[in-house]
Structures are given as C-alpha cells and as structure tokens.
C-alpha cells in the first residue's frame, strides 16, 4: 500500500504544470482568479487550448483522438487543473454524449460527430429530465414517432444546462409506450436549429441564466440521428452514468478551494477580523478538512482499483454524495467568512467588463450566489437520496 507516484507520473505532472503555466489562455485565467462569470467564448477558447494540446478527450480511447490516460494521470490532471483554477470542462459533449457515440454509434455517426466534439466546434446539451421525469427518469414522455426516414419529436425537456448556447442536444425520447417504461426509450441526437425547437430560460436563485426548458413542437429529426437500436436508450444512458465514477466527487476542486479558504481566513485576520478565534467556526473548518481528507483517500482507493485493472469497489458509490456535500459545506464556509458583505447583490462585479472597485472583498460578492447555485449539486445527476437508494440496493443488498 502506497500513495507515491512513479517517475513517469511525476514527469507527466511536470508536463501538465507546464501546460497550465504557458498555454492556459490568459484572459480566462484572469477571470477565473477574479471569479468573473465565463462567457460561451471563454469556455470554447479554454477547451480549444486543451484540444490543441491533444488533451480534450480525457476519457476517450486513443483511436478516437483521446488521451488514453491512466486513472492516475487523470487524477494528476484534475489536481493540477484545480490548482491552476481552470474552468471545468463542459461535460455534455466531451464526457457525456461522446462515449455513447463511440460505444454505440455507427461508423458514419462517429465520423460525423466525434471530431467536432473533440475540437469543441459544436456545443452540446443534455435532454434527459422533463417536468415530470426527474428522479424517475424512465418516465420520460417526450415522444418520437417514426414517419418514413424521420422521427417526429414532441415534448419538453427541462434543466437543460447551457442549452442557450447549444448547437445540438442529445435526448432520451419515448419511441414505444407499450412495455416496461425503461424499454421504449431511445437515444436521439437533435440539431437545435431544426424548426420547432425552442428554448426558454429558467432563472435560478443566484440570479443567473444557466438552465433552460427546451420545447419540441413536431420537430422532424432524420432517423439516422438515432444512436444504436430503437428502445435501447435507457441502457445506453445507464452505461454512460456509470462511465466515470472518479472525478464525480470533484475532490481536486474542493481541495484547491479549501486552500483558498484558508488564505481568506488569514487575510481576514490581517484585516483584524476575529474568525480565527471563533471556536465554532474553526471547529467546522477543521471537521471539513478531516472529511475532505477522508474523501480524497476514498477517491484514491477507487482510482487505485481502476488503475490496477479491477472494478471500482463499493466505496465508489459514496463519491457523488460525499463530494456534493463537501462542495456545499465549503460554500457555507465562504459565506461565513464573507460576513455582512455576503449581502450586496451586484452581479456586475463578477460579470465580464467590470473594472471598478468591488463592494467589500471580491470573494464575498460571489459567496451567496455560489452557495445558492451549488444547491444543485446534491440534486442533479441523481439526487443524493437516489444515490442512497442505490447504495442500499446495490451495495448493501437491502
């Protein structure tokens, strides 16, 4: 048992550090440091930098242009990326639809879609949830009716993250409602510019426009946009959900965040604030640090089994719950440090183009919106309650 990196892995870490030092787009880096919201273009510039380095397809197999990295390399990359405050890679294209396409798609589909996903030429979004299909995802009602060489799609998808930027959407649609509800679901790719597709913004409690409703009003979709077999969409989606367990806990980001929280506390102390002598706050901080260390090692355990060729052990099932709880606890710490300056709601301060003086410390301006926004992390990707159901059933056999 050891947690040491090999010499090759250490060399790889150097390579990643070099990348972030020299090739991380400066404008994006600056925004990340200030906490300024990124624009669509910022994301594209950042992801293209990765693409130019050959690192866009982190989980992809080499034959499709992926990195072919080991689990340990992925971990190293995630750690360094978090240290460098890089933006998250928007998952919908690179991490979510691509694996389904290269695993279940036809050769024609692979050739048609994968290169543009890899290069972030095309922006994808996810059409899974519906107003009445959340945790019970298999009850999707958006209909796709076969008509000659097309499917005619009608229905509503919701919580579509960054759908306002998207060129394409991958959807779970119902092609058959006769059997078990899991059975009649198909996996369909839809061009957002097709007549009948419309996007309605949903403004969240942090005041941002991140998620949307996407409506399909008799949208005619070519049948060759269907992935794999009709009626197998549920299986494909499930495989995708279990595709990558490590990374789901976002431990690297949380670690980097805890470090910056410690700096905030020191800065607060330098300003004469009394946080460090607040025993209740300090107890919370240290308990969180302990929990994060445990979580880091839980993730490393999963990583170690994956990289030695074994299936991830049962401990992998706790990553999503513990990881999302960690993000939310850290949000609350920042909120506490922000104190009274958590109150001003002045979004201009963290929107592109702002160059004035911030009201209170800059981190404080975004403390509350971040806290509000991150309530989503225990809800999306299968709520934490659903995750516990899964543990109870699959791990404990209840």
């Amino acid at each position: 048992m050891n947690v040491d990196f090999t010499n090759e892995e250490l060399a790889f870490r150097e390579e990643v550090r070099e990348f972030f030092k020299h090739k991380f787009p400066a404008a994006v880096k600056d925004k990340q440091e200030k906490g300024t919201y990124l624009t669509k273009n910022d994301h594209i510039v950042w992801q293209k930098a990765l693409y130019d380095q050959g690192w866009a397809g982190i989980n992809w197999p080499v034959e499709h242009g992926g990195t072919g990295w080991s689990a340990t390399q992925k971990y190293i990359f995630a750690t360094e990326a978090a240290e460098a405050k890089s933006p998250r890679i928007i998952p919908f294209g690179l991490a979510m639809v691509a694996p389904v396409i290269y695993t279940y798609g036809s050769e024609e589909q692979k050739a048609r879609f994968l290169p543009d996903i890899l290069a972030t030429n095309v922006w994808w979004c996810q059409g899974y949830s519906e107003p009445n299909a959340g945790s019970d995802l298999a009850s999707v009602k958006t209909k796709a009716v076969r008509d000659g060489d097309s499917y005619v799609v009608s229905g509503t998808k919701t919580w579509t993250t960054l759908g306002q930027h998207a060129d394409w959407i991958f959807c779970l649609v119902r092609t058959d409602d006769s059997g078990r509800k899991q059975q009649g679901i198909s996996f369909l790719l839809i061009d957002m510019k097709t007549p009948g597709v419309s996007v309605t913004p949903i403004i969240t409690i942090d005041g941002t426009h991140e998620v949307n409703e996407v409506h399909f009003d008799d949208v005619r979709v070519p049948a060759n946009n269907l992935i794999g077999e009709e009626g197998k969409g549920w299986t494909y989606a499930k495989v995708l959900l279990t595709h990558e367990r490590t990374g789901i806990a976002r431990v690297a980001e949380s670690k980097a965040r805890l470090n910056s929280i410690k700096k905030m506390i020191d800065e607060a102390a330098a300003r004469g604030e009394v946080l460090k002598s607040n025993a209740v706050f300090m107890a919370r901080l240290l308990e969180i640090e302990v929990e994060l260390k445990a979580l880091e090692y839980t993730e490393l355990r999963v990583l170690s089994s994956v990289s030695t060729g074994k299936a991830p052990g049962p401990e992998s099932s706790i990553l999503k719950i513990k990881g999302s709880e960690m993000i939310q606890m850290l949000d609350e710490l920042v909120l506490e440090i922000a104190g009274i300056y958590a109150l001003p709601f002045v979004p201009e301060q963290y929107t592109e183009g702002f160059d004035g003086e911030s009201i209170g410390p800059l981190f404080a301006a975004k403390a509350a919106p971040t806290y509000y926004n991150d309530r989503k992390v225990s809800i999306y990707g299968g709520t934490n309650e659903i995750q516990k159901n899964i543990i109870a059933k699959q791990v404990l056999g209840l």
């Binding site: 089994s305 052990g313 049962p314 056999g397």
Partner: protein
C-alpha cells in the same frame, strides 16, 4: 514419499454469493476469493504427514487463472514445499481437471494424492473419483481419518449412517471430508517463507490436454429467501404446525 495436494480457488465461504443480474453466473467483481475449505483440509493432512515423517515432500497443484497462485502460496504458508499452477482462463469441467491432474501425477509420481471431496462453488464431488479412474489408482473418498503404513493407507470413510474403514495399496487417492482435521492458521514467519518457495507455472498445452468444455451454463438463480422463523408457544402448537402448515409429519 511425495504427497500431491490439489487445491481450488473459490469464493470465500463467508461471502454471501450474489447472482449476476443477467443470471449468467455469479458476480465475482471485488468478491473475496479463498482456498476451497475441503482443499485446506487436504493441505493440512499432507503437512501433518510430513511433520510425522511419513511424507518427505508436499507438492500443491492448482488449475485456474493466474491469480490462483494466491491459493498455492497459502498452501505453502501452511507448510507445502512447492507449487504447480496449471494456468488457464477457460471455465473447467471436473473431467478436464482430472485429466490435467493425471498428467501431473505421471510427472511427479506421488505416493499419495489428497484432494478435497468437493468444491463449495460447483459442488461436483467428482474430480477425485475421475482422477482415480484415469490414473488407475485406488481411492478412499470422504476420509475422516487416515493412517499411512509402509505400502498401504488405511482410510476411515464417512458414509451414510456410519463409518467404513478401507485399506488401499499405495499409490492412492484420498478425498477429504470435514472431520479429517482442523486446518491450522498460517503463521507470519511461514507466510514469509512461502514467498520464497518454488512455484512452477504450466499450461494445459504443456500437458497436451484439451480443456475446452462441452458444457454451457444456461441459468443461475439465487436460492429462495429464507423467511423469518416463528416462535411457537407450546409443543402441541409445534406439532400442529408441523402437521398442518409444514406438512412434514
């Protein structure tokens, strides 16, 4: 005299076995594996024979995937002198195993071959018997006691409702029952020594044996869940229930 012991890698007997969701077999992902308990008894018996001075070498053989080396190492930690792994990832029938063991017997010429009476995973209870037939050796199955003398071995067998004692000419085959002995725990110094004991790796091809199976598993199902017991108030209630509910008397 050489003693050859065959051991099998199976799911640890403490593990609650789960059937794969497609019912094609048992879920082995991340499941703890161990030496078949009857095989462990066989190893213990061989090691005791060596300690008594009856045997001068204990050779342990396993047939299966590369990781079956773990069980051979365990046997060596319990006192076996050297190991042979016949490495194959094919699912194996008892007959293929018996054929391979026959070849190992031809090479090693042991005075005694000791096997577990059956493995707790497939419950076949036939490898020892098949080996007896193929190698042309006498067999004492379900042994609960053995005594080796110059040219023969006395085997007490557990049979329905009683015991039977046989005398077999050596070389002979013995399969172990539960009460033959209580295996020891591997001590740390012996575990460390086991790392340095020789372990040969062979393949079925080395012995010219075709292990491709003519048998296919169609369906594996879990046993029915045991329902909770009930506490009866009196003997007469028990009798009534046995008669009318369980219908066993």
């Amino acid at each position: 005299m050489k003693v050859l012991v065959a051991v099998k890698r199976v799911i640890d007997y403490n593990i609650k076995v789960r059937v794969k969701s497609d019912q094609s077999g048992v879920d082995l992902a991340n499941v703890k594996m161990a030496m078949n308990p009857f095989c462990e008894i066989a190893v213990e018996e061989a090691v005791r024979l060596k300690e008594k001075g009856v045997a001068d070498e204990v050779i342990v053989v396993s047939i299966g995937p590369k990781v079956a080396q773990e069980q051979i190492r365990t046997a060596m930690a319990l006192g076996a002198d050297r190991g042979i792994l016949v490495e194959t990832d094919e699912p194996l029938e008892s007959l293929a195993i018996a054929k391979l063991l026959t070849k190992v017997v031809e090479v090693e010429q042991p005075g005694l071959v000791i096997l577990g009476k059956q493995s707790i995973d497939a419950d076949n209870n036939q490898t020892g018997q098949m080996l007896g037939a193929l190698a042309g050796m006498s067999q004492g199955t379900f042994a609960s006691e053995i005594n080796v003398s110059e040219n023969s071995v006395e085997v007490t067998r557990e049979i329905d409702g009683g015991l039977q004692t046989l005398s077999l000419n050596l070389p002979a085959i013995i399969t172990t029952d539960l009460r033959l002995n209580e295996p020891r725990y591997a001590s740390l110094p012996n575990i460390m020594k086991a790392k340095r004991k020789p372990l040969d790796v062979k393949t079925p091809a080395d012995f010219g044996v075709n292990v491709i199976s003519g048998l296919k598993t169609l369906l594996v199902e879990s046993p029915q869940e045991r329902s909770a017991g009930v506490l009866v108030g009196s003997v007469s209630e028990l009798v009534e229930k046995l008669k009318n509910e369980a219908k066993v008397i």
